[in-house]
């Protein structure tokens, strides 16, 4: 067997072992996880099915709109897969502790590259599976084609699509590291690209809505704006077009030659073709990029940055609620500021939302009727929370696991274990509120939503931030992974999966609440706020309890 085959075999074995250890851990834990997965999947399905049902009823444009949503969904999925594969390429190809070991083995650089590419595709597949299955099932149900050949055709079309996005993302990540081995240069480059994107986006002249008394009028105004998602060079276009063509074909003709298979072959041949640039990158670029990234240490500064000296001076004065709690806060703030990987991604994603919100008037959403404006406002708000949730899972959840490897500090410090958790809760709440609440407010303002409704939704946002942060902090303490320093590994564990499901369930609930309650009173507000506080506080309490009993 080739070294690559051996590596894959051992990876597969380690995945199997992980599943087996999960099954061995506790039957209850396994059952709870399975139940949560099913519940969250059912929740997502319900959400999509309701939305699609609504659109489908808007005749004669319903079916067209549903297809447009499918184009938009696959387009977004493709972008997300490329970005996540690029980020994971950086973590697994350049920062993983496994790489130095593999380099010393009689294994080629190309084999290491393809091993890590397989891992990126494998991990992407899981996230795709989780969000795509309920989405496509709801789509199939709305079109009355849920059963029969539809699931099979989805599987056939999505497989090369996921590989293509993973290969492209991994290649992009490798080229980026080769060109910009220094972290600071990368951060600045990403920021410049972000600004250019923002400027470019603001220059887009969308089609105007001429007539909004009917759904048809609104759709005829907006549908042309979605044409970017239907560019024929995009793999997401081939995927969607393939599935739609398949569905348009007579059932008996579907598996004989038709245009759908042309799109499949387009996807498949591109996926296969992408092995060539990947192989070249692995052969010519990967080793060079790896050594460049190793050589490119940050410049050692004799003088300390003013910002950090100021932080220290400020924290020397802060002793409430306790000196140790403030020490944790000072340490977390410094670590966060020094890790561009954390804040640059936040700036890019929230920055894109800001750019989109700034263009709401340009896109003429503000002249829509109240019902549509409210719907867009709710969708924007939920969108902000989804981005916040992903950052909360990525950065807040693993914080305690990362402390655990420093058990000689955390475990030995004469402190109450609630201290570090509360500090993380306060910091997470502060950061998420500062970023998301102005965005929610701004989105409402740009849409011309009545001020009382904007204040209502923004105020509710504070409690949503609390619930999301509380769940991340609490579950981070209840299910820590002290053995790993790899963020992706910590997040993809049992606790991370539960957290993902809890976040999605909670946000689905909040989304449904915001859609259903067009004019809710303050009593309902207080009830939802109190529930959110409880949803955030209970995991923190449980996490503190778990931490007190923990062995390091």
């Amino acid at each position: 067997m080739s070294p690559f085959g051996i590596l894959l075999q051992f990876k597969f074995r380690s995945i199997l072992n992980s599943f087996q250890s999960l099954r061995r851990r506790s039957k209850i834990e396994f059952l709870v996880l399975s139940a949560f997965i099913l519940l969250a999947g059912a929740g997502l399905y319900f959400f999509f099915a309701q939305s699609f049902g609504f659109f489908q009823r808007q005749q004669p444009f319903g079916p067209i709109l549903l297809n447009e949503i499918l184009y938009l969904f696959t387009f977004t999925l493709f972008i997300m897969l490329v970005i996540s594969s690029s980020v994971s390429a950086y973590a697994t190809l350049f920062r993983s502790q496994e790489i130095p070991f593999l380099i010393t083995q009689p294994v080629l650089w190309t084999e290491i590259y393809f091993l890590k590419l397989s891992e990126a595709v494998w991990y992407s597949s899981w996230s795709v599976l989780f969000i795509t299955v309920p989405f496509m099932a709801a789509y199939g149900a709305a079109k009355d084609i849920l059963w029969g050949s539809f699931p099979l055709i989805c599987l056939i079309f999505f497989a090369p699509f996921v590989f293509l996005a993973g290969a492209f993302g991994t290649l992009l990540g490798t080229v980026t590291i080769w060109l910009l081995p220094g972290r600071k240069h990368r951060t600045w480059a990403f920021l410049v690209i972000g600004i250019l994107l923002a400027v470019g986006f603001s220059k887009i002249q969308p089609h105007l809505v001429q007539e909004q008394n009917s759904i048809a009028g609104i759709l005829s105004g907006y549908l042309p704006n979605l044409k970017a998602a239907k560019h024929p060079m995009l793999p997401s276009f081939w995927l969607t077009e393939g599935i739609l063509t398949f569905l348009r074909t007579e059932p008996l003709q579907r598996f004989s030659w038709n245009d759908a298979w042309f799109y499949f072959l387009l996807l498949f041949s591109n996926a296969v073709f992408f092995v060539i640039p990947s192989h070249s990158a692995a052969r010519w670029l990967y080793a060079r990029a790896f050594f460049r990234s190793q050589d490119h240490g940050e410049v050692r500064k004799k003088r300390r940055a003013l910002i950090f000296t100021s932080i220290e001076k400020a924290f020397d004065r802060l002793v409430w609620p306790s000196k140790p709690a403030m020490a944790f806060m000072e340490k977390d703030i410094k670590s966060f500021l020094r890790d561009p990987a954390e804040w640059s991604q936040m700036i890019i994603f929230f920055g894109l939302l800001l750019v989109y919100f700034s263009n709401l008037k340009n896109l003429q959403f503000d002249v829509l009727k109240d019902f549509w404006k409210n719907l867009v406002f709710v969708l924007n708000t939920v969108g902000v929370y989804i981005v916040l949730s992903s950052f909360s899972m990525r950065f807040v959840f693993p914080m305690l696991s990362l402390e655990g490897s420093k058990s000689w500090i955390l475990g030995m410090a004469p402190i109450r274990f609630s201290s570090p958790l509360l500090v993380k809760l306060v910091l997470g709440q502060f950061a998420s509120s500062v970023i998301t609440l102005p965005l929610v407010f701004f989105s409402g303002y740009m849409l011309g939503i009545p001020p009382d409704k904007i204040i209502y939704t923004t105020a509710l946002g504070f409690f949503v931030c609390f619930a999301l942060t509380g769940m991340s902090v609490g579950l981070g303490a209840m299910f820590p992974n002290f053995k790993s320093t790899n963020l992706s590994e910590i997040i993809s564990g049992f606790g991370g999966s539960i957290l993902l499901l809890l976040h999605l369930s909670y946000l689905t609930g909040i989304g449904i609440f915001l859609i259903m309650s067009q004019n809710p009173g303050w009593l309902i507000f207080l009830t939802v706020a109190a529930m959110s506080l409880l949803i955030g506080m209970i995991p923190v309490k449980m996490g503190t309890h778990a931490l007190q009993k923990m062995e390091f």
């Binding site: 240490g297 000072e330 670590s335 475990g411 410090a413 004469p414 062995e551 390091f552």
Partner: protein, 248 residues
């Protein structure tokens, strides 16, 4: 000073599921003593040290530190102790100076004391010139030295180390040995585990040899020689003991 008991272990046991890692240890360690635990991999050294520090909870038995019950007076006991693990995990985005500040604050030291003590330690461990460099750029040895500085900043009464010499350069090892000797003379109790028997032989006031979760030999080097009727060095005595234990 060496008659005063600093650490007392009674019937200490640790099970990981069905596996018994530590099978009942009774031990007194005296104040100002330099006590060394030696043993093969999996002998139970790290589990014992971690139980001593409160990082692991014993399955059974009692631990008293300076007369305080560890399980009952955890916070008070932790103020007296410090632990250096075998793998020097530290905050990569902080400099040695910041890590020392952080740990000092956790022990509620005031700023002046942290700075004086921090400077002293960083100079001693030759890290003063890199005090503002992020530790992510450090080698294993430099990280180990940073951990040592941070662990010593609050001047602990009891200093517990798991394989402390791993990764240190020869000069640092020599300096560190002198440092430990000096500290024990000043009254600090030092307990460490090692696989380097020559170090144990050179430094230890008393040595405990652990095998399969039990202390199979305990005493000063001379006492061990008498006990095993041997004139050999610790390495040969150790091999002899392990063989004897395995054949029982």
């Amino acid at each position: 000073m060496k008659n005063e008991i600093a650490i007392q272990l009674n019937g200490l046991r640790k099970n990981y599921g069905a596996k018994e890692a530590v099978k009942g240890i009774d031990l007194d360690i005296f104040r100002g003593e330099l006590f060394v635990l030696v043993g093969a991999n999996g002998a139970g050294k790290t589990s014992t040290l971690k139980m001593l520090t409160g990082l692991l909870k014993p399955t059974a038995g009692m631990i008293q530190i300076c007369g305080l019950n560890l399980q009952q007076k955890t916070k008070e006991v932790k103020k007296l102790m410090s632990f250096v693990p075998d793998i020097p995990y530290i905050y990569e985005k902080l400099s040695p100076w910041e890590i020392i500040r952080f740990v000092g604050k956790l022990y509620e030291m005031d700023r002046g004391a942290i700075e004086t003590r921090g400077k002293e330690l960083l100079q001693f461990f030759s890290l003063w010139h890199v005090r503002d460099v992020l530790t992510e750029e450090f080698s294993h040895g430099m990280r180990q030295k940073t951990v040592l500085c941070a662990a010593l900043v609050h001047n602990p009464e009891i200093f517990i180390l798991d394989e402390p010499m791993v990764g240190l350069d020869p000069v640092s090892i020599l300096d560190f040995k002198v440092f430990l000797k000096q500290k024990t003379k000043e009254g600090m109790t030092v307990i460490f585990s090692t696989h380097t028997l020559a170090t144990a032989e050179e430094l230890a006031d008393r040595i405990a040899i652990m095998h399969q979760g039990r202390i199979v030999a305990l005493g000063t080097l001379d006492e061990l020689r008498t006990q095993y009727r041997s004139k050999e060095n610790l390495e040969q005595m150790f091999m002899e003991m392990i063989k004897t234990e395995d054949t029982r």
